[in-house]
């Protein structure tokens, strides 16, 4: 990536669009602290990520960032509930609260009857909702979704998109990388376009948030 200057206010729903290899995922990885820039700075709430060591970056991911991936990245031998609980292992959530919180979020996302199913027993849309629940269960400040609908059919795509928009309306900052410009324009308040690692276009899509499901 090169020459990317970007400011994202709290509560923003930012759509990041671009072709494969344009740098969308890299931008999200940098913001999540999974990757470190060779130059430049990333400030979150006034704190420079570059000043944090590896352990502090892990804490940043454990407390502030929820991530959703195109391929869901659920752990195959753990149930939906156990996958969601796993996110609470790293942010000091008391053992007694984990199951309750994981169950609540899964029920909220319509998976109350799929708690004990393993990923292989769930549809793609359900798996992505489990992944979304895993990202949300720790109550992050920023949700980063990297091609969250890339492996979903039309109906599930719209369902997930509606959920992201709803979460954003509740105050969550959402960053969604997608190659689907229409989806980004439909969900996000602002859309940026990446190409060959550069930010080439920025568009304020709507004055107010909202999406039709």
């Amino acid at each position: 990536m090169d020459d990317v200057n970007l400011s994202i206010p709290r509560g923003e729903f930012l759509g990041i669009v671009g072709a494969s290899g344009s740098g969308k995922s890299t931008l999200l990885n940098l913001l999540a602290g999974l990757d470190t820039p060779t130059s430049g700075t990333i400030n979150i709430d006034g704190s420079a990520l570059s000043a944090l060591n590896r352990r502090q970056l892990s804490t940043h991911r454990a407390r502030c960032v929820g991530m959703v991936f195109q391929s869901f990245n659920l752990i195959s031998h753990r149930t939906a509930l156990q996958n969601v609980e796993l996110a609470l292992y790293f942010n000091d959530t008391p053992l007694g609260e984990r199951t309750g919180r994981a169950t609540d979020i899964l029920q909220r996302l319509g998976l109350g009857d799929r708690l004990n199913h393993r990923p292989a027993d769930l549809s793609g849309g359900e798996q992505q909702r489990v992944a979304l629940a895993r990202a949300l269960v720790k109550r992050p400040e920023i949700l980063m979704a990297d091609e969250p609908t890339g492996n979903l059919d039309e109906m599930n795509t719209r369902h997930i998109a509606a959920m992201l928009a709803e979460l954003n309306r509740e105050g969550l900052t959402v960053l969604m990388a997608t190659h689907d410009t229409a989806l980004a324009r439909e969900c996000a308040r602002r859309v940026i376009r990446m190409s060959y690692g550069r930010l080439v276009n920025e568009e304020d899509v709507r004055a107010t948030g909202g999406v039709t499901s």
């Binding site: 990885n29 999540a32 999974l34 990757d35 590896r54 352990r55 892990s58 804490t59 991911r61 454990a62 407390r63 991530m67 991936f69 990245n73 752990i75 031998h77 753990r78 796993l86 996110a87 292992y89 790293f90 942010n91 053992l95 895993r134 720790k138």
Partner: protein, 487 residues
């Protein structure tokens, strides 16, 4: 991540890969089982020896021997280990009791059976020490003058008797064919005054001034006197006999320098046998000549020297001080405590040797753990990426793999201890069956003390953690971005 979290994830992963986990753990189980079985053998033998020493009270016993003449100047007088010295040793501070190893040959008759055996004269107080405590039947004699005898299982074997109880209350006739010094003396003077007169007549008095003749005459007379004395001594047939009642049967004890005679007789009762002078054996004659007590007819027993005196020490006695005092008196000492220390030292090296063999097996098993863990990293690279994206830091990932390898070690060590114990039970059962068939005492060859269990668990855990260290470090360094992209 807390330890329960790590344990939950680790056990889940091991459970998921059941066959591989089973094979890896099996390697540890076999290694630990071998380790436990081998060290258990050392521990069992050590326990047996310790129990024997304690049962016989040997750790509070000191043996006293006459000094050896070899290496000493001719002018140095070797003190005699006689009755007076026994009394002196008994009076030393810290010494409960001193008694001589007073053994003599006797003929023992029970019913119609007569056997030649060794009898040991023993004070009643000594009979109450632990050395003589292992009774198979009956009781020890009631006093020093009791007309009773205690026999050992060795004595039973000589009579082919298997039931010790059958001997209790039986009459035992003891007899000694003591050589008579008087008969030897009488042989020297055989023929009376006539013979002496005849011999004097043969002396050429005019040649007595010739020193060569004088020496030749002296040698001839001395040679003739000795010949007649020995001839008279060896051909004497004075028999001393007594009838005793068998009151107890003692288990034979053979523990290094500890030896209990097949037949034990109260000290005062045995006095007339043991004080009767040397037996028929020419060796006894020369022993008596050497001790200087051959012709002390008034009280032959008082001048007798013993080959060994046993000191029974108080439990808190200053052992070193007693040993130094005894050695200052001119005697040699032997202590089972010193021997016990040497045995313990031997067992340390013995256990060390066996432990090293077991550790080699454990190191081999650790290669299986390394292989399993490295394979696990390759298969779970994406999972590592997911965990890091959720907030796991390098330490969490490292700990996760260490706990996983540690779990392999802990389960393997636990099962290995049980498996090793089962092996020792099997071998012990076979060995004891063979011992019984061969008429030997049943000895428990193995022991599983707590320290061995803890060492086996620790070794299993430590070796598995060491084996897991490299894979854990490698897993911790996995790049999460690459891991999330991996298939």
């Amino acid at each position: 991540m807390t330890l329960p979290d790590l344990a939950e994830i680790s056990i889940g992963n091991l459970w998921r890969m059941k066959l591989r986990s089973f094979l890896t753990i099996s390697g540890v189980v076999i290694a630990i089982a071998a380790f436990v079985a081998m060290l258990s053998f050392g521990a069992g033998n050590q326990k047996y020896v310790t129990r024997q020493f304690n049962a016989l009270g040997l750790l509070h016993t000191m043996q006293v021997y006459p000094a050896r003449a070899e290496g000493l100047a001719d002018s140095v007088k070797i003190p005699a280990l006689n009755s007076a010295m026994v009394a002196k040793l008994a009076g030393l501070p810290g010494v409960n009791l001193a008694y001589a190893f007073d053994v003599f040959r006797v003929s023992a008759q029970i019913a119609d059976t007569i056997i030649g055996t060794e009898a040991q004269a023993l004070p009643a107080a000594a009979a109450r020490t632990k050395i003589f405590s292992q009774l198979l039947a009956g009781a020890l004699f009631t006093g020093d003058s009791a007309k009773e005898a205690v026999v050992t299982s060795q004595f039973l074997d000589s009579l082919h008797i298997t039931d010790p109880d059958s001997l209790i209350g039986q009459r035992l006739v003891i007899s000694v064919r003591a050589a008579s010094i008087d008969s030897g003396m009488a042989a020297v003077l055989r023929g009376g005054m006539n013979t002496i007169h005849e011999r004097i007549r043969q002396v050429r008095f005019d040649s007595l001034v010739n020193q060569d003749y004088l020496w030749a005459l002296a040698r001839r007379e001395l040679n003739d006197a000795m010949k007649r004395f020995v001839d008279g001594y060896l051909n004497s047939r004075a028999t001393i006999a007594d009838t005793l009642t068998i009151c107890g049967v003692l288990k034979s004890a053979e523990q290094g320098r500890l030896r209990v005679g097949p037949l034990i007789i109260p000290l005062a009762t045995a006095a007339r046998f043991s004080a009767a002078g040397p037996g028929e054996n020419p060796v006894d004659l020369f022993s008596s000549l050497q001790s200087g007590g051959l012709f002390l007819a008034d009280d032959p027993g008082s001048a007798r020297s013993f080959s060994k005196v046993t000191l029974d020490l108080e439990p808190q006695a200053a052992y070193t001080a007693i040993r130094d005092t005894v050695e200052t008196l001119g005697f040699r000492t032997f202590s089972f405590m010193e021997q016990f220390e040497e045995i313990k030292e031997f067992f340390v090296y013995f256990d060390l040797g066996l432990g090293i063999v077991g550790l080699i097996a454990l190191v081999t098993a650790s290669l299986g753990i390394i292989n399993t863990m490295v394979m696990s990293i390759l298969e779970r690279t994406r999972e590592i990426g997911v965990l890091k994206s959720l907030g796991a830091d390098d330490r969490d990932i490292r700990n996760l793999f260490l706990v996983e390898s540690g779990t392999i070690g802990l389960i393997g060590a636990s099962c290995g201890i049980i498996f090793g114990w089962l092996i020792t039970r099997l071998v012990s059962t076979i060995a004891q069956t063979i011992m019984v068939r061969q008429g030997l005492d049943e000895i428990e060859l193995f022991a599983l003390p707590l320290w061995l269990v803890l060492i086996a668990l620790s070794f299993g855990l430590i070796v598995s953690l060491l084996a897991g260290a490299y894979p854990a470090r490698r897993a911790a360094r996995v790049d999460p971005v690459k891991a999330l992209r991996s298939d």
